[in-house]
Symmetry: C2
DNA sequence: TCCATATTTCTAGAATGACAGAACAATTAT
DNA sequence: ATAATTGTTCTGTCATTCTAGAAATATGGA
């Protein structure tokens, strides 16, 4: 996984609203939540939410699918896991130490 | 773990130089690396490195100990793991779905 | 077709962050 | 003491990010 990809994901999550959005979607599971409902639950104006959602989407952390007038967002678990794994990859490879 | 703590850690890592520093320290293990050697390996000016290291330290991701004139930095594995765990906590709790 | 609903894009101002030069602080050796 | 080494803090500049108002786009219903 590329460094730029990781940085995009981390900076996407390093912001209060976006971290809350992502965690909300993680708890929601694959079914996801429509944008309007996210805006309501987190009390974020629609346009501001859209800005944050596109940030998360560019980072590959969420996906969107259309259902009628609604756009339903859901977490991209695999991508999130890949980011997480990158952080501790090659742990202690310079020295024999921890497990 | 508090939201602010998580955001501090994520934004600390969401930057090219700091991500490289952190990964370098992760590979180094508990023994750590002196600041000067980090600066040399990553080709970062001493004062700029210091700026980034203090950012990582404030976020709880690295620790520093003095050895003579050198300050030796090392990764704080437990804190990093706690941040990582936070991201996927309560996965799918709103619906029965994935494991 | 015309309107309401759901969401995004455009825009601009305010706030925050990165960077490196210069000065400062701490430690060790002579 | 004085000087050399190792890092940090101070400073200002430039760039990026957050936020929300207003306008635009897409879908579905009357």
């Amino acid at each position: 996984m590329e460094e730029k990809t990781i940085i995009a994901a981390l900076s996407a999550l390093a912001q209060e609203s976006r971290l809350r959005i992502f965690r909300l979607l993680v708890t929601a599971g694959p079914a996801g939540i429509p944008a309007g409902q996210i805006a309501e639950e987190l009390a974020i104006p629609a346009n501001t939410l859209s800005f944050h959602l596109s940030h998360l989407k560019n980072a590959g952390l969420v996906a969107a699918r259309r259902d009628g007038r609604s756009l339903i967002y859901s977490a991209e678990y695999d991508h999130a896991k890949a980011v997480i794994d990158y952080l501790t990859e090659n742990c202690c490879s310079r020295q024999p130490c921890c497990q």
